[in-house]
Amino acid sequence: MTTAILEVDGLSVSYSIPGDGLLGGGMRSLQAVNDVSFSLQAGETLGVVGETGCGKSSLGKAILQLVKPSAGRVIWNNRDLCGLTRKSLRPLRKDLQIIFQDPLSSLNPRLCVGEIVAEPLLIHAPELSAREREQRAIAMLERVGLRPEMALRYPNEFSGGQCQRVSIARAMIVEPKVVVCDEPVSALDVSVQAQICNLLRELQRETGIALLFISHDLSVVRYMAQRILVMYLGRIMELAPRDELFTKPLHPYSQALIRSVPVPDPAMPLNDYPDALSGDLPSPLDPPSGCVFRTRCPKSTPICVSQAPPLERRGDRHLVACHHPEE
């Protein structure tokens, strides 16, 4: 399982947003993703974690070309997706699917869920008859834990967890190779969250799909992913196998993130937690010079102000971007 099926190389995304001028005069550029490179292995789940605004969702969308990257390449089957036209991208989308955070707003309210799940087949398997499409949609609905008769109901008749099952069925029906999961369980109740996580894991075991699992919740990512990418202000801070990241995180930001997760143990009162990160995320419009994390970093020194640390290998599959990584 060491063949890379998707290669992301130097990917950047920038948005232009209105500047300070009256009437929106002067556009400013917001760099949401900055020079991100990694590869996704066949059958693995790569977790992407970080705080709000760190660029993790933009990264997911840029890989699928749902937002246009400003630089970099996404290599899929020896082709760079970034250079392709919409038309030539279309057949490739069969292999690259996405599941969004808000299950209700990502489903068309005017279609019944059977139609929603069958719709991708219209584009990607036009040779199928209407009857075959329906059969496949129903089989897929059953696979994700919904009853066949539910195919005729509309999204507003479903709970959040059920809607997310429909989204998963819609993504999986074209037998993709890669699914980007953008906070797929964040909007769900705790008891339903576990059901959806398990479902994604089962589907992965059965089909061997690779998942890019984006989440702000470290406990969920730890459970879903084999490797984890930690992002901060659009940049990769650390990329490491799961157990390595949780047992010996090297980047001060990863350490702080892990320390901030509340422990469900009454024997561990809050004031026993080591110092949590102080301050808030700086504005991505005006990121700090040098290392973007330095304004909140307990280990910051003059070199962190003047130079951005490169992403360097520490150990076999462990990458970290820090001038003073934990040894």
């Binding site: 705080e51 008891s191 398990n198 730890r222 993130l257 469900p264 009162p269 949590a276 990160l277 808030d280």
Partner: protein, 321 residues
């Protein structure tokens, strides 16, 4: 420890087009000074509505019945004037969404000062000084200058700090925090939880922490009430609840929670199914449909909350006393 809030058989109903929803039923609890109570449940479990009802803050189609006493005074039937005296000064609330909880066109410092001036005889200079002091206590950097900031100029974490400052500025007896950290990042959540923990250690204020996250209550609360489909199903001291959860729902919740400790290779044990439709609640135990242990009796007869052991209460037919 003085008893501050006594709530007996509180029920909340909402009138809707198709009839009525019983959002909360049979809720009884007491809250004493200096205590921190965690209220845990999923969306629609009635956890927020219970406490909104106690403060007289239900939506227009909502009605509350039963009894809620604050320091012995019945407040469920109190008129608006009396409630306005109590709310903000003695009983305060922190909402989840700090952006919509603050007035967008008013400087945050002035909103803090206003909260104080409504309830205490202070002049504007004193109010300003207290507001700035309060902003410093909740760790707003450069508080004297941030006094003049508008809510949109602050980050989500800072806005939630302002909400906390506003709730605390009149030194209330009871603060109800309704999912105060749910919209925040985990690093900021850690800061806010420590801040709340500091308040409750250094003041006599009783804190009610409403959340869906059991991990949040673990380090903060003395006691936890678990709600399901509008009713409390288990109530216990925090350590007991985590040690010896009794209700199958509590047990399921604890097990289905991904943590940084459990084995990531094993599938998470899940609670199958989903909460019942509150428009047509089942006649027996609301959890029976999802409960692996449910018997005939559970589907027919609703279990009452009763004492098991010294300090634990549970509503389940299958738990022996």
């Amino acid at each position: 420890m003085t008893v501050l809030l006594e709530c007996e058989n509180l029920a909340v109903t909402f009138d809707i087009d198709q009839g009525q929803i019983n959002a909360v039923q049979d809720l009884s609890l007491t809250l004493s000074s200096g205590e921190c109570l965690g209220v845990v449940g999923e969306s629609g479990s009635g956890k927020s509505q219970s406490f909104l009802a106690m403060l007289g803050l239900l939506a227009r189609n909502g009605r509350a019945s039963g009894s809620v006493k604050f320091r012995g005074e019945e407040i469920l039937a109190a008129n608006r004037r009396r409630l306005n005296e109590l709310r903000g000064s003695r009983l305060a609330i922190i909402f989840q969404d700090a952006l919509s909880g603050l007035t967008p066109t008013m400087r945050v410092g002035e909103q803090l000062a206003e909260a104080l001036r409504c309830h205490e005889a202070v002049d504007s200079a004193q109010a300003r000084a207290r507001a700035i002091e309060m902003m410093e206590i909740v760790n707003i950097p450069d508080a004297a200058n941030r006094f003049s900031a508008y809510p949109f100029e602050l980050s989500g974490g800072q806005r939630q700090r302002i909400m906390i400052a506003m709730a605390m500025i009149c030194r209330p007896d009871v603060v109800i925090a309704d999912e105060p950290t749910t919209a925040l990042d985990v690093t900021v959540q850690a800061q806010i939880l420590r801040l709340l923990d500091g308040f409750r250690r250094h003041t006599e204020t009783a804190l009610v922490m409403i959340t869906h996250d059991l991990a949040v209550v673990a380090g903060l609360c003395d006691r936890v009430m678990i709600m399901y489909a509008g009713r409390p199903v288990e109530m216990a001291p925090t350590a007991t609840l985590f040690d010896r959860p009794c209700h199958p729902y509590t047990i399921g919740l604890l097990k289905s929670m991904p943590t940084l400790r459990n084995d990531p290779a094993a599938d998470l044990p899940v609670i199958a199914g989903q909460p019942p439709d509150m428009r047509k609640p089942p006649p027996g135990c609301a959890f029976a449909e999802r409960c692996a242990l449910a018997e005939e009796r559970c589907r027919e007869e609703r279990p009452q909350l009763r004492q098991v052991g010294g300090s634990q209460q549970v509503a389940c037919h299958l738990v022996s006393a």
